[in-house]
Symmetry: C2
Subunit: 222 residues, 2 copies
């Protein structure tokens, strides 16, 4: 499984993805699920993927090839030529359909095996894909579009901490991307490893704070 | 969907179930999913059910009929004649198989439609069935078998609050059963309605405490 979350803030957006991938419980590996394309000062795109790796990787490759063939004659529309965010989203959609058409019949038709989900930037306060349920309650309670980006990143990491503690199929490291609105630069892309001091402190402090908050609430009168 | 959770404590156990049932998003009703059988001073059983209502209700009815036919000659083993908890669990298992055998062929064979899960007392610190993911992080962080029963009930209700806030398919009222070890009496069975003052305060206090705990944690340095 996978867990990805994107938050759209007044000041920019935060996107994060875990990196665990598995083919059965005894075959667990680390794989990048957070991708980005940028022309510094011009445009920035980020995509988080969940689902079948063959499908998601092919989509990412098609999008990358598209941006590379920008200067070729007759090159099709790509992320760097799209005039609006909606056109960019349509280009991602077309890449998905192209991959599915190519693989049709070659691959098993099970919905489970070949489905894939994509978070492409964001249009709602938050959006999650993958193993999203464990980390939703904290987002539901705390998220707010007026948050500073550092606060939003903290919230996204807390949501990951809850998910990783409760479900083995989502694992560290976490790829985190923070984009400040209108900078048109991708300067804040971080891989957060298991021994990251901030993440460890966050996780420990949060456990302590939750237990304290729990203790402060009146007991149920049985 | 459904959410049920059971906690086994040193001092007894706590079992809770929501009451929402639906046949499509526009056909939502309230239905009891928390059942109990007791002979005061002798034995107490409680069962929380999740899944297809036809199946779970038939199982509950079979178990009830079994306990009613206790005095008949040649009556089969039932919850009130079981000599151990393991025998009682086997009786529940047999009731499930009997229902499945009866309904075989009459009902559609979709796994989704006719699957059912049961929480029968408890043998682990906590066990959940149904829509369990939203409410697991708080249980993972706070639960402890040494808790007082009132604390455990508070924790179970917090876990429900997180689930109900994040998922429409689980809804109030909540049936809550608290059993104090060795009392062999079922005195503490409560239905907690939407306007229950304790639950409203719990939910509000918890939101405030979470937001405060969140604010107290150092921001992510982007």
């Amino acid at each position: 499984m996978t867990y990805c979350v994107g938050m759209l803030m007044k000041d920019g957006f935060v996107l994060a993805a875990d990196t665990r991938t598995n083919a059965g419980l005894d075959n667990i590996a680390t794989f990048k699920k957070l991708h980005s394309w940028s022309q510094p000062g011009k445009r920035v795109f980020a995509l988080a993927t969940s689902g079948n790796l063959a499908t998601t990787q092919a989509v990412v490759s098609l999008l990358s090839e598209g941006t590379q063939s920008l200067r070729k004659r007759g090159a099709v529309d790509n992320l760097f030529t799209a005039k609006t965010m909606f056109q960019a989203a349509q280009i991602v959609g077309r890449a998905i359909r192209d991959v599915q058409k190519t693989d049709e019949g070659q691959l098993f038709q099970s919905e489970d095996t070949f489905s894939a989900s994509f978070l492409f930037a964001g249009h709602t306060p938050f959006l999650q894909i993958g193993e999203h349920k464990y980390g939703k309650p904290i987002l539901d309670r705390v998220s707010d579009p007026g948050m500073r980006l550092g606060e939003a990143a903290k919230l996204v990491l807390l949501s990951f901490d809850s998910t990783i503690r409760s479900n083995l199929s989502v694992g560290m490291p976490i790829d985190l991307l923070v984009y400040a609105r209108d900078t048109l630069q991708l300067e804040r892309v971080r891989r957060i490893e298991r021994d990251d001091p901030y993440f460890q402190k966050l996780s420990g402090d949060w456990s302590k704070a939750l237990r304290k908050a729990f203790a402060a609430i009146e007991e149920f009168d049985i």
